[in-house]
């Protein structure tokens, strides 16, 4: 699957025992020495719990991150043994590059449409299944199934749905039309992921206390007022979770474009990640491609962090 995750949780409470240990050590000479030895040993044992995960992270993320920054200053083709350093030339190229406008537009479109539709549909579905009723579990299970299927298979099934079923009911296949191809890809994503949004919002709906709801009914609030003033505030954590999740998911969309359309027709469905892939691998323009990649990485992190922070603030207001 490709469940994309984003969850920026601040760590609560910082560092008391770190300082406490320090004062401990000052008690007296002899005690201090043995203490110190034991302390060092136990600190090393503690570190050994952390290190395996950190080494994997170092190797898979942090070293490539450093290498990636280095590549941005070269005009390397990715194959030849020598790299020529060209300073900031790549950045200059990127900021004046009109070719980039298409993937930016496509990614923005995909991200906006999927984030809005998945969340609205998910919320709607959650309201539909939020009742103790026989048989509802079957529907929940069915709606959730697409989430465990690989993106490759989803793309392939939909290629044939669009091709054969759409022509059967007299519609054009969106994947071969420059105008509708991104909508076609959005459709696949919405189909696949609305079930997850449903489950998250359902968990939020279940957290609305029954007595608060009853109080609202007694006070004479109508259905819409109850939804707006009682339900929505309790859903705030779900929104804080879902909106950044699908924003980040849209920004990193790769598989649909790679499998279903190869970025085409023309470059009509080339997203940012697919654009980066094209320049790094088939085109062998590593200096340029990696510069786009590093800028894009920074953009993704800034967008996700800012949106999450804003939503957190809202959450407290509600």
């Amino acid at each position: 699957m490709d469940v994309k995750h984003i969850q920026a949780g601040p760590v609560q409470g910082v560092a008391e025992d770190f300082f406490a240990l320090k004062t401990d050590r000052n008690i007296s000479g002899a005690i201090c020495k043995t203490h110190k030895k034991m302390n060092i040993k136990s600190e090393l044992v503690d570190l050994s719990f952390l290190m395996p995960a950190f080494f994997v992270l170092l190797f898979v993320i942090l070293i490539p991150l450093a290498l990636g920054v280095q590549f941005t200053f070269t005009n390397w083709d990715g194959i030849s043994p020598v790299k020529e350093y060209v300073g900031l030339k790549n950045f200059n190229t990127v900021f004046h590059d009109k070719d980039l406008l298409v993937p930016i537009k496509n990614t923005a479109f995909f991200t906006a449409i999927t984030a809005i539709c998945v969340n609205l549909i998910g919320l709607g579905l959650a309201l539909l299944v939020n009742k103790e009723l026989k048989g509802l579990n079957i529907f929940k299970s069915i709606i959730f199934i697409p989430l465990v299927i690989s993106l490759v298979l989803v793309s392939q099934m939909w290629m044939y749905v669009y091709n054969d079923f759409f022509s059967f009911i007299g519609l054009e296949n969106p994947l071969v039309s420059k105008k509708y191809v991104m909508l076609g890809l959005c459709g696949m994503c919405i189909w696949k992921e609305s079930g997850l949004a449903m489950m998250v919002y359902l968990a939020g709906l279940k957290s609305v206390p029954a007595d608060v709801m009853e109080a609202a009914v007694v006070d004479g609030a109508n259905a819409w007022e109850r939804f707006k003033n009682v339900t929505i505030p309790f859903l705030a954590p779900a929104f804080t979770y879902c909106i950044p999740l699908w924003l980040a998911g849209g920004l990193r969309m790769f598989d649909y474009a790679a499998v279903a359309t190869s970025g085409g027709p023309g470059d009509a469905s080339t997203t940012m990640t697919y654009y980066i892939y094209k320049y790094l691998f088939p085109y062998n323009k590593v200096g340029y491609g990696q510069t786009v990649a590093m800028i894009y990485l920074a953009v993704c992190i800034v967008i996700s962090t800012v949106i999450t922070k804003q939503l957190r603030k809202r959450e407290i207001d509600l």
Partner: protein, 277 residues
């Protein structure tokens, strides 16, 4: 009056959900329908319900060279990935939560930061790095990459859970003479069972369905995993879609099986942190 009303509402609910379920299941119908049709029937009727069940497509699919290799590779990668990610992340999250000082919390921030990174932005430097240590086109190279891309979120999941476990049990174990490793693996790890299940299922699905990473790291036929094989399969068999879909359906069985066995844990894992506690 109200009873009638709510009955009517339930009916509407049922109708709406039935329609939605049909939309959700329709693409699966296409896959199954094509997989069970012979070539001639497929050419004639396309989307109509298959008149007979034609098993030969499945036999042909599994006889495609490298089909079983890909299956085997996927199983090896998923098993190693799940095992590794569980061990390294649970120990890491445990010590971060228990130490809770500035040094360890900095690492926690680093792990959180990594969750936000799109794989494609770092894939080329990683590709070069794997090439340098001869890990390209090896299964362990893919396992390592998948662990690295998942470890951030898994540490986050474990950290949330460890916070809720009382320290007293560990102190008792230490007094009884367990060292830290014994304490963790004998006392703490069993207590993590619910979250272990969630991590197990989520990581399995992430690994089994991964395409972006295997596309870069495991291109050679001998080391291809299922999504990668399917990708080429549909290209090579575009004239014989039935066989391609038959192969795809067989490859789907493990994920759907895991889904029905562990639905609760998937939902728990994916909705963790989404509800006010």
């Amino acid at each position: 009056m109200t009873k009638k009303n709510s009955l009517g509402m339930d009916m509407m609910r049922g109708v709406a959900l039935t329609i939605i379920s049909i939309v959700i299941l329709a693409p699966f119908y296409v896959a199954f329908c094509y997989a069970f049709k012979s070539r001639t029937e497929f050419a004639k009727t396309k989307l109509a319900f298959p008149t007979s069940i034609y098993i030969k497509n499945f036999l042909e699919a599994v006889q495609v060279p490298n089909y079983f290799t890909a299956f085997k590779n996927s199983i090896i990668v998923a098993a190693l990935m799940v095992l590794t990610v569980m061990v390294v992340s649970s120990t890491c999250a445990y010590i971060i939560v228990r130490k809770n000082n500035r040094f360890y919390n900095t690492f926690y921030y680093v792990f959180q930061f990594v969750i936000l990174i799109p794989f494609q932005t770092l894939m080329f430097p990683l590709y070069r790095e794997l090439n340098a240590i001869h890990a390209l086109n090896t299964l362990w190279g893919l396992v390592l990459t998948q662990v690295g891309m998942n470890v951030g979120y898994v540490v986050f999941l474990y950290a949330g859970f460890v916070k809720g476990i009382p320290v007293s049990l560990e102190e008792a174990a230490m007094l009884d003479g367990c060292n830290k490793y014994q304490t963790f693996f004998r006392v703490v790890f069993p207590l993590l069972k619910p979250i272990n299940m969630t991590v197990f299922v989520l990581s399995f699905l992430n690994s089994w369905n991964d395409f972006g990473m295997s596309m870069i790291i495991c291109q050679k036929k001998e080391v291809r995993t299922i999504p990668m094989m399917q990708y080429t399969f549909f290209g090579e068999y575009s004239s014989n879609v039935s066989v391609a879909f038959a192969g795809a359906i067989l490859a789907m069985i493990p994920t759907v099986a895991v889904y029905f066995m562990a639905q609760k844990y998937i939902v728990d894992g994916m909705t963790a942190g989404a509800v006010k506690s």
